[in-house]
């Protein structure tokens, strides 16, 4: 990376961290929720857009992370310990389920992850003594990184902001690394990767596990944020919403899913304050994006950028978007 590129990144981070000063108190709270969802949706975007594994059970890992904080939080107070347990538990669940699932692909993978997610949901739902069943349970633990409890909305925003930035830069490094490039190659052409000498299943299992871990961390943050967890966090509807956010944002990009999450959460908040029929409007927006902007918001943004800034770099942007596709094709195959 050139020095100017570093400058751009630092500028963006600074702007991002200054956000709370122009937002209302409610806006800061909403921003925290957006960031948590962004981590979750980015983790799903990683396996969909880069590994071609379209999952409809990703909420299971999010929910496991959230319940880890809720349940273990009754005994432990240390925030680091709770976050790490959420990461380990959801990572383990992803690894063990991945061992079985990774052999299937396309629609079969989608169905088997859906079934797995629903199974975890059913277990949490039925274990009433432990989890409170359908009523859910309150989260006792409060975040404390060692400098006193974080109980203000502003403090929590910075906690999620740091978590988001770490996740984002970790994933950015991951997809540019030999490992990430190989995963991308497997999505593109698994038989050739095998012929080249790659042990493709190991790569797929590893990326699925990493994705599950990240979803678990997002879930853990959500437990702190909401101070209440319920089985809805594991339900397939939530997985489906995350999938929609990935597609709306832009499959095959890293920022896309994060933007999709922001778009979805903010819009849902505003539209639902006008009408109870907000899912109808969200559905229409989704249909329009799938029909007219296959690359999601990222592609639409790239097209607009090209139109109004045609003097430089216009061609590479188009090429970059054109080769990404919308990821839906991997469901069909």
């Amino acid at each position: 990376m050139k020095a100017s590129a570093y400058g751009k990144h630092i500028g963006c981070i600074a702007l991002f961290l200054l956000c709370p000063f122009i937002l209302t108190s409610y806006g800061v709270k909403l921003a925290s929720e957006v960031l948590i969802m962004a981590i979750f949706v980015m983790s799903l975007g990683l396996i969909i857009g880069f590994a071609g594994l379209v999952s409809l059970g990703h909420a299971a890992f999010f929910g496991l992370g959230a319940y880890a904080v809720a349940l273990l939080g009754n005994h432990w107070e240390n925030t680091y310990l709770l976050l790490i347990s959420a990461l380990v538990i959801s990572g383990l669940a992803a690894f063990l389920s991945g061992l079985l699932f990774i052999r299937s692909s396309g629609a079969y993978f989608l169905m088997i992850t859906l079934a797995f997610g629903q199974m975890i949901y059913a277990i949490v739902y039925k274990l009433e003594d432990l989890t409170g069943g359908a009523d859910g349970m309150a989260v006792v633990a409060s975040p404390n990184l060692g400098a006193g409890p974080i109980d203000s909305r502003l403090g929590f925003f910075y906690l999620t902001a740091v978590a988001f930035l770490i996740s984002y830069y970790f994933l950015r490094l991951l997809i540019a690394s030999p490992f990430g490039k190989s995963v991308r190659g497997i999505k593109e052409n698994e038989s050739r990767m095998t012929a080249l000498g790659y042990q493709t299943r190991t790569y797929k299992l590893a990326v699925y596990t990493i994705s599950g871990m990240l979803a678990g961390v997002a879930g853990a943050l959500y437990a702190y944020f909401n101070q209440y967890v319920s089985p809805d966090l594991l339900y397939w509807m939530f997985s489906g919403q995350a999938l929609i956010m990935v597609i709306v944002g832009g499959v095959g990009t890293l920022v896309g899913p994060a933007i999709g999450a922001g778009f979805f959460v903010v819009l849902q908040n505003y539209i639902s304050s006008f009408t109870d029929r907000w899912p109808l409007i969200m559905g229409l927006i989704f249909v329009l994006i799938v029909l007219f902007g296959k690359g999601g918001i990222m592609q639409i943004a790239a097209l607009l950028w090209q139109r109004f800034r045609p003097q430089r770099n216009s061609k590479p942007a188009q090429q970059a978007m054109a080769k990404e596709g919308n990821g839906i094709e991997s469901v069909k195959s």
């Binding site: 030999p178 012929a195 080249l196 790659y198």
Partner: protein
Amino acid sequence: MSLLKVEHLHKSFKGLHVLKDVSLAIGAGERHVIIGPNGAGKTTLFNCITGTLPIDAGTVTVNGQKISGLPAYTAVRVGMSRTFQKNNLFGSLTVEENVQLAVNACKPHRFHFLKPLARYTETVEETESLLKQWDLWERRSRVVNELSYGEQRLLEVLLALASKPKILLLDEPTSGMSPAETVQTTKLIQRMPRSITLLVIEHDMEVVFSIADRITVLHHGEVFASDTPGNISGDERIKEIYFGGGTLQHAEA
């Protein structure tokens, strides 16, 4: 001693016996060409040798090491790589990314995930020298799907070469090429160093006789003959299989 040895290989698909007791021995540095009418089992033989398809009986050994029964990705580890009859590339990645993936497959850092691939100088340099050697350096930033068919065919061979194989299996390297491209590709194959042993499936007889040290004729899944080009071209029975014979083979070809 032969570098690649195939012994008593059998393969059938749901009762259809595609390969019957196929044995081959290919010495180091040899240019061995497999010919035979369509449906003779040539590509199936390649798939069985490299482990892409499981075999029913028999053994495949490379340099004395048995590889039959092992998963397909292990073939590269013993120094054997292959190309495909139909281009099997990473269509929406660039030429450079394609070659980088191929080069990186055998590097110890292939699992690393905390440093960009572009900063592993060994991979980057090897990619660059391969691309320059094969006249694809100018095209490195092009998406593979945008390349001409001939260039894609070239890249197909290039990817197989990136792992520095001792044995290279080429499945119809000139199929679908224009006459000019065929001549060029034949020259490229002829120029390959003798440190690479070649096993080639080819239909174009001009190409076959300009590269082969030995020719094996596969017919109905059996080794019909395996001999020097001179003896093969003089064998009346082989002409029969290819040109004369029953109308059935004629229609297939």
